[in-house]
């Protein structure tokens, strides 16, 4: 017999309108996933190219690994920073679900912290030691990438378990110490693979975009990067159709059907599929074009839009899963208007400050590059 227990939501009202909380949640989640795709996809890319680049025959692979290495810890820094924001907003809306699933996965959930520390330091180690001691650096990078792959798996476990309260009591009775994983979830593997392949795909779109910029100063290397990234993007897009179909097929029938029956999820689903195909075609054509810039940039933009729509679709799937058990629309609201305004003021000021700092570095980099060119 399935015992359904869902903790009562917090007695305090939501401190902002639900639409605002949802908007911010989806926005920071999109940015978090983008940074995560760069951190995870980037780590895998650097690892494979560092291995390949050990041969004299693949100087571009070596160059790519060397250029990307210092970026990896920065990608992680922003993945964490943006992930914290997503965690903040998801807790305020879905806290009663997330805390419960986290407790059931307690051991794995806590291990995320240790894994992030190891993986993060691993990326730093690689970026500092890739030249001096490439063998050990690649070995450490492999461990770091493995850590991030495990973190992604735990995250997928938790994000799926928080949607299925009917499994909670049984898991709690089996392992109250939190030594559970959500292996009973039919979508677990397909969902994980979909996120993982997606991360590689999005990062290769970023690389193709970067390749076009490189073509200005290093035409051969830039063209190689665009070509290679476009092919891998096409490959991952193809695989995503398989994992995506598997993911949808593994969902409960009524939830899967709602993606096609309801107008909004259906439109978002359809447009995101078309956009991913458009991105693939643009990148493939761009990679062989004489002037690849506009096509590759448009393809990159389509890939980003696909990710954004997928974030929206993911939210609709969550809502459909939770519909029988929990609807945040029913939660009372008492907006903290003054503090919300203060947040937006500080947010704009913060963005301006970050913009100022990044602009200063970018300008200094251009100046340094020109000086190097003049030499």
């Amino acid at each position: 017999m399935t015992i359904l227990t869902i903790p009562t939501p917090d007695p305090m009202p939501l401190p902002a309108p639900l639409w605002l909380l949802h908007t911010l949640l989806l926005l920071v989640l999109f940015l978090h996933l983008l940074a995560m795709n760069c951190a995870l996809g980037g780590g895998l890319t650097v690892f494979l190219n560092a291995l390949r680049g050990r041969s004299e025959r693949h100087p571009f692979s070596r160059q790519l690994a060397t250029e990307l290495a210092p970026m990896l810890p920065i990608f992680v820094a922003f993945t964490i920073t943006l992930g914290v924001a997503a965690l903040l907003f998801v807790q305020v809306i879905y806290g009663n679900l997330l805390y419960t699933s986290s407790i059931l996965l307690g051991a794995a959930w806590m291990s995320v912290i240790l894994l992030v520390i190891v993986g993060y330091y691993g990326y730093y180690y690689f970026s500092h030691h890739a030249e001096k001691s490439p063998r050990s650096a690649v070995a450490v990078l492999a461990v770091a990438v493995l850590c991030f792959l495990c973190i992604a798996f735990v995250l997928v476990n938790n994000m799926s378990l928080m949607l299925t309260p009917n499994r909670w009591q049984q898991m709690y009775r089996a392992h109250p110490g939190g030594f559970n994983l959500n292996f009973g979830e039919p979508t677990l593997v397909s969902r994980y693979l979909h996120m993982l392949i997606g991360a590689i795909g999005v990062f290769t779109a970023v690389l193709a975009h970067l390749g076009v910029r490189k073509m200005r100063t290093q035409p051969e290397y830039g063209a190689w990067l665009v070509r290679r990234s476009s092919v891998i993007f096409a490959l991952t897009t193809g695989i995503q159709f398989i994992t995506g179909t598997w993911f949808v097929m593994a969902m409960p029938r009524d939830i899967a059907m709602s993606l096609f029956r309801e107008p909004l999820p259906g439109i978002v689903f359809g447009v995101s599929v078309i956009l991913s195909l458009v991105a693939m075609v643009l990148l493939l054509i761009g990679s062989t074009a004489v002037k690849p810039g506009p096509l590759v940039h448009a393809g990159f933009l389509c890939a980003l839009l696909t990710l954004a729509l997928m974030v929206g679709l993911r939210h609709m799937v969550r809502t459909a899963y939770l519909a029988p058990h929990f609807d945040p629309v029913t939660l009372p609201v008492n907006s903290q208007t003054g503090v919300i305004l203060l947040f937006f003021v500080s947010f704009v000021a913060g963005l301006a400050t970050v913009g100022y700092m990044v602009a200063k570095v970018a300008r200094a980099s251009v100046t340094a590059a020109r000086a190097a060119g003049a030499d």
């Binding site: 227990t5 903790p7 917090d10 007695p11 305090m12 009202p13 401190p15 902002a16 210092p70 810890p73 920065i74 820094a77 922003f78 964490i80 920073t81 992930g83 914290v84 924001a85 965690l87 903040l88 907003f89 807790q91 305020v92 806290g95 009663n96 805390y99 419960t100 986290s102 407790i103 307690g106 806590m110 995320v112 912290i113 520390i117 330091y121 730093y124 909670w168 009591q169 709690y172 009775r173 109250p176 110490g177 939190g178 903290q336 503090v339 919300i340 203060l342 947040f343 500080s346 947010f347 913060g350 400050t353 970050v354 700092m357 990044v358 200063k360 570095v361 200094a364 980099s365 340094a368």
Partner: protein, 512 residues
């Protein structure tokens, strides 16, 4: 009882303490260290001191590696841990302060960006821009303390928030300003301590100068610390001051520990950093780190300790139960939503163990940290159930009310009685005094003292013979509704009355 309990092998509250102490140790350095970097860089430019500048560059790399990774990730670790251990309290904090955290996140975002740019663009940016980014880092880092300090202090002294539920009432609570001052001073102190780590690795004449500079930061922080700590203490709630005044003698341990660590750190800084900087070597830096960590751990432990029995004073207990829910549980039973025992109605001890897990295990273990076995030695189930009815009135008033009805108390009492079965040894003249003392400690000492200040029994029993004391034991519950009936054996009653009588006679003799 709303959420499942993460059942760990140790009181899960300890995990919060460990993660939090490790985090604040680095995060306070992340703030003070920012000021240390930018002020030292500024000095190096002003004096055109290349040696000092090289030191700042190296120190900034160490700073970034430690604070960006370990500092930031352990901060996320606190989020993870409190959500697992105290979901109800975490949810409440989030609902009250989500926008505070969102504002802190903005500063965190600026801080991370500035730290990366500052540490890795020494050669790319001009001096003025680099210094500006250093200042941006420090201001953003300090502002994140300004925000988070409001949330941390709210937990001990929510002030008018309890009535108004207004964000600002909770944020600018009675301990906000003294805590901000104290933490700022600690930031200065830790900037110096961590500065030593890289300073002793310098070569040439600059080494002694940077060691001395770090020492001056330590001394400045150490001198100001007692003033701010006293201000902070002055704003403590009445119950917390009572703990420190003697109601809970264990409150003195972190105070003594903190003072010892601060004093030793100051002494070492004066001697080995300022007076004889050449003597400052790696082993001494390790000692300085230990003193600084000890100071930080003592402070955080004390802050948590004096908040007993609350996690948010007056609102949510340390066992994650809301005050408003307790009356309902007392009237209607605990009715936990999450149980691992199959048949609670048939398995009283099993159900009692489950209640222990839910209501006690966040702070108490069975045999280890704050272990129950030694606390319930010789208790029978009835006595334990009676004690649970007055849990919040135990010595120091540092326990929450028990959230359950008579049947729940009996179940938990039955479980507690299994932890330390009734005394088996025969009481003789040789061991009577010792056993009498044990019986007093476990049956009376939870609420009373002999010759002490907390509910002393002196007035009731001074001058009474052992027989007179023993005669009063069967009528204890008629003396006060809070007194549990005597359920011990006759032999225990005899040992206890002999002990009480002899101790009070000794005290009276000493007084004369």
């Amino acid at each position: 009882m709303n959420y499942p309990v993460w059942q760990t092998l140790f009181p899960a509250g300890l995990l919060i303490a460990v993660v939090a102490v490790v985090h604040v140790f680095v995060s306070h350095f992340a703030i003070g260290g920012g000021a240390f970097l930018v002020l030292t860089e500024s000095t190096a430019y002003r004096r055109n001191d290349l040696g000092l500048l090289q030191y700042v560059k190296r120190h900034s790399k160490f700073f970034a590696l430690l604070t960006l990774v370990f500092g930031a990730v352990t901060g996320v670790g606190i989020w993870f841990t409190i959500g697992l251990v105290s979901p109800e309290a975490t949810s409440s904090l989030i609902h009250t302060f989500v926008w505070g955290w969102a504002i802190e996140w903005v500063f965190f975002f600026v801080e991370i960006t500035a730290a990366i740019i500052y540490a890795y663009n020494w050669d790319r940016l001009d001096r003025k821009t680099h210094l500006t980014i250093g200042w941006i880092y420090f201001i953003a880092a300090f502002m994140s303390l300004v925000v988070i300090n409001g949330i941390i202090t709210y937990m001990l002294t929510p002030g008018a928030w309890l009535q108004t539920k207004n964000f600002w009432d909770g944020f600018f609570n009675p301990t906000y300003w003294p805590s901000l001052a104290m933490r700022s001073v600690i930031c200065v102190l830790l900037a110096g301590v961590f500065g030593l780590i890289t300073a002793v690795r310098e070569r040439g004449e600059v080494r002694d100068r940077v060691v001395r500079l770090a020492g001056m930061w330590i001394v400045a922080g150490s001198v100001l610390l007692p003033l701010t700590a006293w201000w902070y203490y002055a704003k403590f709630p009445v119950f917390a001051k009572a703990y420190m005044a003697g109601a809970l003698p264990a409150a003195q341990h972190p105070v003594r520990g903190g003072i010892t660590c601060a004093a030793l750190g100051l002494l070492f800084a004066l001697v080995f950093a300022i007076w004889k900087p050449r003597l400052m070597r790696a082993p001494l830096v390790v000692f300085m780190m230990i003193f600084a960590f000890g100071l930080m751990a003592s402070g955080e432990y004390l802050r948590e300790f004096v908040r007993k029995p609350w996690v948010i004073t007056g609102y949510i207990y340390a066992n994650d139960l809301r005050t408003e829910a307790i009356d309902s549980h007392i009237a209607n039973g605990a009715q936990p939503k999450w149980l691992t025992v199959a048949n609670p109605e048939e398995d009283q001890v099993g159900y009692g163990r489950e209640l222990f897990t839910i209501q006690c295990s966040k702070c108490h273990s069975v045999d280890g940290y704050r272990g129950m076995t030694k606390r319930v030695r010789g208790w029978d189930a009835t006595f334990a159930a009676n004690m649970l009815a007055h849990l919040d009135q135990l010595r120091g008033n540092a326990m929450p009310r028990f959230a359950g009805n008579a049947a729940d108390r009996q179940a938990l009492g039955a479980y507690l009685a299994t932890l330390s079965p009734a005394r088996a040894e025969t009481i003789t003249d040789a061991n009577r005094a010792e056993i009498g003392k044990q019986v007093f400690v476990t049956r009376c000492g939870a609420c009373h003292t002999l010759g002490g200040t907390v509910r002393p029994l002196d007035a009731a029993f001074t001058g009474a013979s052992p027989e007179q004391v023993r005669d009063m034991l069967p009528v204890l519950e008629s003396m006060s509704p809070n007194m549990p009936p005597w359920t011990g054996t006759d032999a225990e009653a005899q040992a206890l009355s002999t002990y009480i009588s002899s101790i009070l006679s000794e005290n009276a003799g000493a007084a004369k």
